[in-house]
């Protein structure tokens, strides 16, 4: 009697988990006027009113309607108004949500080539490894962790109660283990590294947080940097590829992942 109760509770739990999984993967509710705004923004872009389309896309973002397509289009519109930094920032945001989209990757590559005339040479193996590591988006990996963990739990239970052989359990354990580590490292990097992009035509990096300090280097519009610390409206940025660090005013860079 008691054992039966536990088994029924477990089945209910699996059902609850499946509902939670679905909630996690589904985006937020659709806003009623999103479709209209979206069409207006695209129309403005196609008529060459890029400033106007930037405003419309930003309106949509303010209404919490951001997806990869919106960030991509906003990037295009910013590029047309001559704001390379803002464009790059939004392409990066689009890439974060949809890393395998060919158009996003193309524009990102195109813009980076325009901003940095000398692209850093990278080992082909390293480049392959990098693109493999970032092949799946964070959301895909997170969802995979949840689904694989659930499958793993079910397989484990079936194995314990002698319903299946151990091969199934071994396979799912290995797959789940790899994905768990992969997602863990990605989530850790995403959470700890504060990436940002320079959004002014020339960001002056100083030796300390204040105008009284010496300018040590300048970064162009669209330069990708890492924010190391913040103080009184100043941000300490780093250019890891060149080993440079300096303080810029808060408005000269914009964080990829919000404050």
């Amino acid at each position: 009697m008691k054992d039966m109760k536990i088994v029924i509770t477990m089945f209910l739990l699996v059902f609850v988990i499946l509902i939670l999984l679905f909630i996690c993967v589904m985006p937020a509710r659709v806003k009623s006027n999103a479709q209209e705004k979206w069409s207006q923004a695209n129309l403005a872009y196609e008529q060459g009113k890029f400033e106007e389309s930037v405003a419309f896309y930003n309106d949509l973002l303010a209404q919490e309607c951001g997806n990869a397509d919106l960030y991509y289009n906003l990037g295009d519109a910013y590029y047309r108004t001559g704001k390379s930094g803002k464009a790059l920032l939004n392409y990066r945001r689009a890439e974060r949500l949809s890393p395998r989209d060919e158009n996003i990757r193309f524009n990102l590559k195109y813009l980076r080539a325009r901003i940095n005339s000398s692209e850093t040479e990278e080992n082909i193996l390293l480049r392959f490894g990098r693109s493999f590591f970032y092949f799946f988006s964070l959301n895909e990996l997170s969802a995979a962790v949840l689904i694989l963990f659930l499958i793993f739990s079910i397989v484990m239970a079936l194995y314990l109660f002698r319903k299946i052989s151990s091969i199934g359990l071994k396979v799912i354990s290995i797959v789940f283990g790899i994905v768990l580590i992969w997602a863990g490292v990605r989530i850790y990097l995403d959470d700890s590294v504060k990436e940002a992009v320079v959004v002014v035509s020339k960001a002056e990096a100083r030796n300390g947080p204040g105008t009284e300090y010496q300018v040590i280097f300048t970064a162009p519009d669209g330069e990708e940097v890492v924010v190391l610390s913040r103080e009184k409206g100043w941000m300490e940025i780093g250019l890891p590829s060149r080993g440079l660090k300096g303080w810029v005013t808060g408005e000269s860079v914009e964080l990829l992942k919000g404050p």
Binding site: L20, Q47, C65, D76, L97, F106, L146, S153
Partner: protein, 624 residues
């Protein structure tokens, strides 16, 4: 200087009056061209020409400086400074062409030179530095000859600023004065007002006067060169007059004030009967006297445009004409066609916005390139604005470019007018498949020799379904961690169930755990019937409870257990004899009660129940 009417040429003109003192500072190399693109080898030519090499003192020379190059943007040069001349910028015209990805642009800067004195002067070379290369023009020599003096009676006579007519006295306040006036004081928004400044003087000036423009806040200004010099009689006295006009376009309605106009000049502080017979040394060493002259502010009322504006009205005021044409009538699909729309007329040409074209289907439309051509004949700002729209037909057949519409307000008749151009029909033939340009990156161009890359650009926007709400990062959501926790709980539950079932099958003690709890439960049931039920029933429950308890402890079934076996087993387990005796007594009492016909009083039952409870607790302690 005149506007070019050649097709495919975009002209840009603007005129600026430049005070000659500021010119002194801008002499040197004159032009520095900043390198714009590094991919192209730059090829730039510069050329300077004048319309005449001999000029009278009261005449003017037009100097044209042309810069030609294959870069998309040529910078504006500094103002040339030329000794012996007053220099006015008379505008610029720009020509930009883009053929098969090659850029070619030319800028022509025009200057009007008015001589200050006679003699031979040289216009120095203009330099442009491109990287480490320098391009220069040849110096031009100009001869200034004396004016053929023939003062026209009554009417104003043009005169050079350095030339002063006969002067009788100097130093008194009405020897120099200024006036400022406007042609109308009540206008519509964006309608032209002509502001006229006049400087009257009848004394020798020591240096060029410094004219300070009044505050023109609320107006869009446009200088109206050239400066006019003539003589006029005021109150019976002859004055030399310098006149400067400025066109003003009010930007919004309301009351505006054109601020005080100021002019600072240096006049001789001693008497001189004749400017031509001045003692050379006196003239040379005398410092002169500085005079500051003012003209009163002027109030302007700007009226709002009447209501019932046409829907496509965007603020143009004046009188305009509209024309549209394409560079070709027959074209292949995917080949660009340039639609040129020209708005010409009198009014604020610069502020005209692009006319609307509705229903432009079957064409892909690219950015509009606009240019304007300004002329200031009769001191009225006029000219034309040209919009070039590049259209690429997407299908073949007879395609129509609909009429462009443009509305403006005519202040003379106080009405709105809407212009409409002719619709243009194009004959579009299908292009051979190989000729279709593929807009792609350079990587594709090398892979397929047949593909020609025309344009290197970002990809077009996406027009999928509208965003269906904020796509959030899953790991930052609460439900992600809640789901993880629940799966963990699920694991824990299945592990617990597994352990439980394992023990149940292998561990008899585990399986029979909780015997005391069960016994107590049965005793409670016995209490319920101790006073009401039959004695047999009560003692049956009591005996059953004890036997079940002992069976759990001995891993036996209660049904097959006898009193003798129990005593034997307990003795084996070294249970206290006293306890065994008590148990035997109790169980015998139970048997007796169950099968004896006599009834047992309630007190007796209570005693037995108490005894059973004590024995079970004692046994639980002993039988671990």
């Amino acid at each position: 200087m005149s506007a070019t009417t050649e097709p495919n040429r975009l002209s840009l003109k603007s005129g600026v009056f430049v005070s000659s003192t500021s010119l002194r500072m801008i002499f040197a190399a004159l032009l520095t061209l900043l390198a714009a693109g590094k991919a192209f080898p730059q090829n730039i030519q510069v050329d300077a020409t004048v319309d005449k090499q001999q000029v009278a003192l009261d005449d003017q020379v037009t100097l044209q400086l042309t810069i030609n190059g294959d870069v998309s943007s040529l910078p504006k040069p500094g103002q040339p400074s030329l000794n012996g001349f007053n220099v006015y910028s008379a505008g610029q015209s720009q020509n930009f062409s883009w053929v098969n990805g090659k850029v070619n642009s030319a800028v022509t800067y025009s200057y009007i030179l008015t001589p200050k004195s006679t003699g031979r002067f040289t216009i120095p070379s203009f330099f442009i530095a491109i990287g480490n290369k320098t391009v220069s023009t040849k110096p031009i020599s100009i001869e200034v000859v004396a004016v053929s003096a023939k003062p026209a009676p009554g009417g104003p006579t043009p005169a050079a600023p350095g030339y002063a007519p006969k002067v009788e006295t100097a130093g008194s306040s009405d020897d120099v004065f200024i006036t400022a006036e406007v042609d109308k004081k009540k206008v519509y928004v964006n309608e032209q007002i002509t502001f006229t400044f006049r400087f009257y003087h009848r004394v020798q000036l020591r240096s060029n006067p410094q004219y300070q423009r009044p505050d023109f806040t609320g107006f869009w200004t446009e200088d109206l060169p050239p400066q006019k010099n003539y003589t006029a009689a005021v109150g019976g006295k002859q004055y030399a007059v310098s006149e400067i006009k400025t066109a003003l376009f009010p930007t919004t309605s309301g009351k505006f004030v054109i601020g005080r106009t100021t002019l600072v000049c240096l006049v001789d502080d001693f008497l001189s009967r004749d400017p031509f017979s001045n003692d050379f040394f006196r003239n040379f060493f005398s410092g002169g006297r500085e005079k500051t002259l003012h003209a009163a502010p002027i109030e302007i009322t700007v009226m709002d445009l009447p209501p019932n504006k046409p829907s496509d009205f965007s603020g143009a005021v004046g009188q305009f004409k509209l024309a549209a044409k394409t560079d070709k009538k027959e074209v292949q699909t995917f080949q660009p066609v340039t639609l040129e729309i020209e708005i010409s007329g009198v009014g604020n040409i610069k502020s005209i916005s692009e006319p609307k074209i509705e229903g432009l289907t079957h064409f892909k439309r690219y950015d509009t390139i606009s240019s304007f051509n300004l002329s200031k004949a009769d001191y009225r700002v006029q000219g034309s604005k040209n919009f070039k729209i590049i259209l690429v037909p997407q299908t073949s057949g007879k395609l129509t470019i609909p009429a462009a519409k443009f509305s403006y307000f005519e202040p003379e008749t106080k009405t709105y007018k809407t212009l409409s151009s002719q619709a243009i029909t194009l004959d579009v033939t299908p292009a051979p498949a190989s000729a279709q340009p593929v807009l792609a990156g350079p990587g594709m161009a090398t892979a397929q020799p047949g593909v020609k890359v025309f344009f290197d650009d970002i990809r077009h926007i996406k027009k999928n379904a509208a965003p269906s709400g904020q796509e959030k990062i899953i790991y930052k959501k609460a439900c992600f961690w809640l789901a993880l926790f629940l799966i963990l709980l699920l694991n824990a539950m299945s592990w617990f169930l597994y352990r439980h079932m394992e023990k149940m099958s292998y561990d008899q003690h585990y399986a029979r755990r909780g015997s005391l709890r069960r016994a107590r439960k049965r005793l409670k049931a016995a209490i319920k019937i101790q006073s009401s039920g039959l004695a047999g029933e009560f003692y049956g429950v009591l005996a059953g409870t004890i036997y079940s308890f002992l069976a759990d402890k001995m891993l036996r079934t209660a049904a097959g257990l006898t009193l003798r076996e129990v005593v034997q087993e307990l003795e084996v387990r070294n249970v206290d004899n006293e306890l065994i005796k008590r148990l035997t007594t109790l169980l015998e009492t139970c048997d007796a009660a169950r099968f004896a016909p006599s009834d047992f009083p309630v007190e007796e039952r209570k005693k037995s129940l108490q005894s059973a409870e004590d024995i079970i607790i004692a046994l639980e302690r002993v039988l671990k």
